[in-house]
Symmetry: C2
Subunit: 125 residues, 2 copies
Amino acid sequence: MKIDPRSHVPIYLQIADGIREAVAAGIYSPGESLPSLRVLALDVQVNPNTVQRAYDELARDGLIYSRRGKGLFVAEQGKANALERARKTVRRLFDQGVQAGHSAGMDANDIRAVFQASMSAKEKQ
Amino acid sequence: MKIDPRSHVPIYLQIADGIREAVAAGIYSPGESLPSLRVLALDVQVNPNTVQRAYDELARDGLIYSRRGKGLFVAEQGKANALERARKTVRRLFDQGVQAGHSAGMDANDIRAVFQASMSAKEKQ
DNA sequence: CCTACTGCATTAGCCATCTAATGCAGTAGT
DNA sequence: ACTACTGCATTAGATGGCTAATGCAGTAGG
């Protein structure tokens, strides 16, 4: 996992996003164990508490669950919950964008055009 | 202008957004003077420096300009610059949304569907 | 000139957030 | 039991962003 310590986005979020993507992509199967706090902490060169905070995020969203003394595991509905979570994030960002455009006087077609441009740019990657 | 002091979004941004929308909507004409730092500060019950920071934002984006001792005025291309600025903001948010969806394994149609939902919800307001 | 207004620069305090340090508590193999 | 792992709770330090206090500098009218 790639972590940038001097990014404006917090480390624990970078970690959470990484795991979330992996779960959404099905890289981890339900019931499969995840790297322990200390192992992952050592891996990304950060304090175990920071990793824990990332796992907390994921547990709250139902992607994973934890067993004290045993470890961390992918939840049964982990993949589905990851997708649901992602969908909400996307929706929130789109709502913000639509709202911003509307406030500035852009009409529906203007906003749609920007969205199309964004989609096209993504495909070219 | 409506300001919420205990919002997570900074006061200076709330002020800047309010003025930006007004300029984009053509409520202020080019060359027209804006409320002075202290007047607006008194109006929204905040320190003049906070208002200044809002005006700084707008000046950097070319919406307004300032003359020491005289006041603040809407730039000639203020409205156009406001629209351009808004377009970039919308684009940035859409890019983030598209990226998030893609990372989570959503395909183009999934993402489009969320966008449509967002647009529909906006129209119903 | 002098007063009353302008915008602006400097400084400091406050506060939220992130990260780390440390120790406790549960599990399991030997 | 003992050891070596687990996750977790508490606390503290550090950092950055936001807001305010204060004073300087420029403009214009009486």
